[in-house]
């Protein structure tokens, strides 16, 4: 490294082009599923072509109307939501929403889910046949679905069978979005890898609740909801790191509480190959573009020239020398 180079020169030299497995990305920063709709509401605020990619709102075979209200509430350094996987359904998505996404020239990740094996497979097959989808992000982890969905996200054998069944019906790469509510996150990642997933996204929201003591009621209608935001970042980092260490080279898309370039770099250092930004986009529709520039600047400052150089570059703490009391 040339110590006389300015930080500006360094950040110009930073290369954010990167890859997730075989998939090229313009930058490692994607919009997170559920936080970016199908991108249209953001077009008035930000040049969407500057994003590395977009993960859509979760798509199911049939449209879903979502949960009763209240659906969201703010908590300390985060928010709870229980939207209920509201979406337009596969047919309307392919007809009305995908064309805009396809035109942007960014990586298009279509998040999808079913309510049982058959509907997962039906959804993977329908979406997998469409042009312009780079990744099918299989959501096996949403806390806001009632019918038996919890096992998909928490039992490795079930996740393996479901992933294999979906991989078998499409040539589009499948990334499985894992639940932090799983007891064994490494076991879950290993199971879906073995079943043919090209990578994993982690973490989804963490189940939580909040109470209005004056009204003696839960603050969201379904009682429990998914916690997101900076409150969950330490958990996301820990899980990314555990999976990265156990499955070296297996692509991980990290997420959970990224608000700044430094947050994104933490995830890359923990072992994520790319990251998604979710809750931050609500308050600041242009958050991803700002975070991209912050990441570029910070990498320049730290003399990290490429995303590949950042991934997993975390160094273990040196072991402490054994203490011997003076005699």
């Amino acid at each position: 490294m040339n110590m006389h180079e300015s930080t500006d020169a360094n950040s110009r030299a930073v290369e954010l082009n990167c890859s997730f497995g075989h998939l090229p990305l313009k930058t490692p920063l994607l919009a997170a599923s559920g936080c970016f709709a199908y991108a249209e509401p953001f077009a008035q605020f930000v040049d969407l072509r500057l994003l590395g990619g977009i993960s859509t709102k979760g798509i199911s075979p049939l449209p879903r109307h979502g949960n009763p209200l209240p659906r969201i509430c703010e908590t300390a350094s985060g928010m709870l939501n229980s939207i209920g996987l509201e979406n337009v359904g596969v047919d309307a998505f392919l007809r009305d929403k995908l064309p805009l996404l396809r035109e942007l020239g960014v990586s298009v990740w279509v998040n999808f889910f079913g309510t049982d094996f058959e509907t997962y497979i039906e959804c993977a097959r329908a979406l997998g046949g469409a042009d312009g989808i780079d990744v099918l992000e299989m959501n096996i982890s949403c806390p806001n679905i009632k019918k038996g969905g919890i096992e998909f996200g928490t039992v490795p054998e079930v996740a393996h069978r479901l992933t294999r069944a979906c991989v078998d019906v499409t040539d589009t790469p499948i990334v499985v979005k894992l639940s932090p509510n799983a007891g064994d996150i490494v076991g879950m990642a290993a199971a879906v890898k073995e079943a043919g997933a090209c990578g994993v996204s982690l973490i989804n929201t963490i189940t939580g609740m909040a109470i209005d003591v004056r009204r003696r009621r839960p603050r969201i209608a379904t009682t429990y909801g998914g916690l997101s935001g900076p409150a969950i970042k330490p958990i996301g980092l820990r899980m990314v790191h555990q999976v990265a260490r156990a499955l070296p080279g297996f692509p991980i898309c990290g997420m959970g509480g990224i608000l700044s370039g430094e947050d994104a770099l933490e995830y890359l250092m923990a072992g994520a190959h790319c990251v998604q930004v979710g809750t931050a986009c609500f308050a600041e529709p242009g958050a991803i573009v700002r975070i991209t520039e912050e990441l570029r600047g910070l990498m320049g400052e730290l003399n990290i020239a490429t995303v590949a150089d950042a991934i997993g570059c975390l160094e273990a703490l040196p072991p402490e020398v054994e203490y011997r009391a003076p005699r």
Partner: protein, 267 residues
């Protein structure tokens, strides 16, 4: 009209009675806010670090030009508590104008503006615009609160020549009781006169429910400006669902509203 996100600074934080305060802002650059319709809103967030993530929604009280706007607020939670303490020069980030506003005033129709508490701002702006563009007799304000201190900015209505009907629960000013009593009487008067009226309302949900029932029973066009928890304000988070009649069970307070036809709302 597309919305924009922009930096603003506080020009003035003016305390009113009843814990209400008016915040006036100046935008760092020209923004499309002067064309905001009454009922449209702004999302505001201060330098709140990582503790409070989401911006807060406020009806636009006034936007005289493309650099300035104001809101009316009252301390309700952690966000508004911080806003009450803002001083001139303090920065915030604004996203505006958002949502769909009230139908415009027009000749031949009297719009009855039914306001409760912190629901005044969109009706205040409606009256301001109506008085200027159609004439002060095209609108009348029916305004209710717990007591005299709850009723603010009345001098503006007087200045514009807009008639007001006040009601307080303790009777400290205007009629004693709820504003809906005054509303019923006014609707009866309109019926007797053969006057064409519309109801436009904003305020606490129990009041809006009552206004909705009165408006529907009288078969008069009734528009409600609603409030729901929202994270984004522009149709992305889907948090602010409003139950409606129709092909789908929900529409969105931020992007389909906040103003809804009372017939559509499924309460």
């Amino acid at each position: 009209m597309p919305a924009a996100q922009f930096d603003v600074r506080v020009v003035e934080n003016r305390a009113l009675t009843g814990g209400y305060f008016v915040l006036e802002f100046e935008a760092a650059r020209p923004v499309p806010i002067a064309a905001a319709r009454p009922g449209q809103f702004v999302m505001l967030r201060g330098d709140w670090g990582r503790e409070l993530l989401n911006p807060r929604a406020f009806s636009i009280l006034h936007a005289p030009d493309d650099r300035h706007f104001s809101i009316l607020a009252k301390v309700y939670g952690r966000g508004t508590a911080r806003m009450a303490a803002l001083a001139p020069g303090d920065p915030m980030t604004a996203t505006a104008p958002l949502g769909v506003g009230f139908p415009a005033a027009r000749a031949g129709v009297t719009q009855l503006l039914v306001a409760g508490g912190v629901g005044l701002p969109p009706l205040h702006l409606q009256a301001r615009v109506a008085a200027r563009e159609v004439g002060p007799r095209s609108v009348e304000l029916l305004y209710g609160g717990r007591n005299r201190d709850d009723l603010v900015l009345l001098e503006d209505f007087a200045r514009w020549g807009v008639q007001t009907h006040l009601a307080t629960e303790d009777g400290s000013v205007g009629a004693r009781g709820y504003v809906t009593v005054a509303l019923r009487e006014r609707i009866e008067l309109a019926r007797a006169r053969g006057e064409v009226i519309e109801l436009l309302s904003c305020g606490p949900t129990p009041m809006l429910r009552a206004v909705r029932e009165i408006g529907l029973a009288a078969a008069r066009p009734t528009y409600l400006c609603l409030e729901e928890n929202m994270a984004c304000g522009f149709g992305a988070c889907l948090g602010c669902a409003v139950p409606v009649h129709g092909p789908k069970p929900y529409r969105y307070c931020c992007s389909d509203g906040p103003v809804f036809d009372a017939r559509e709302v499924r309460w």
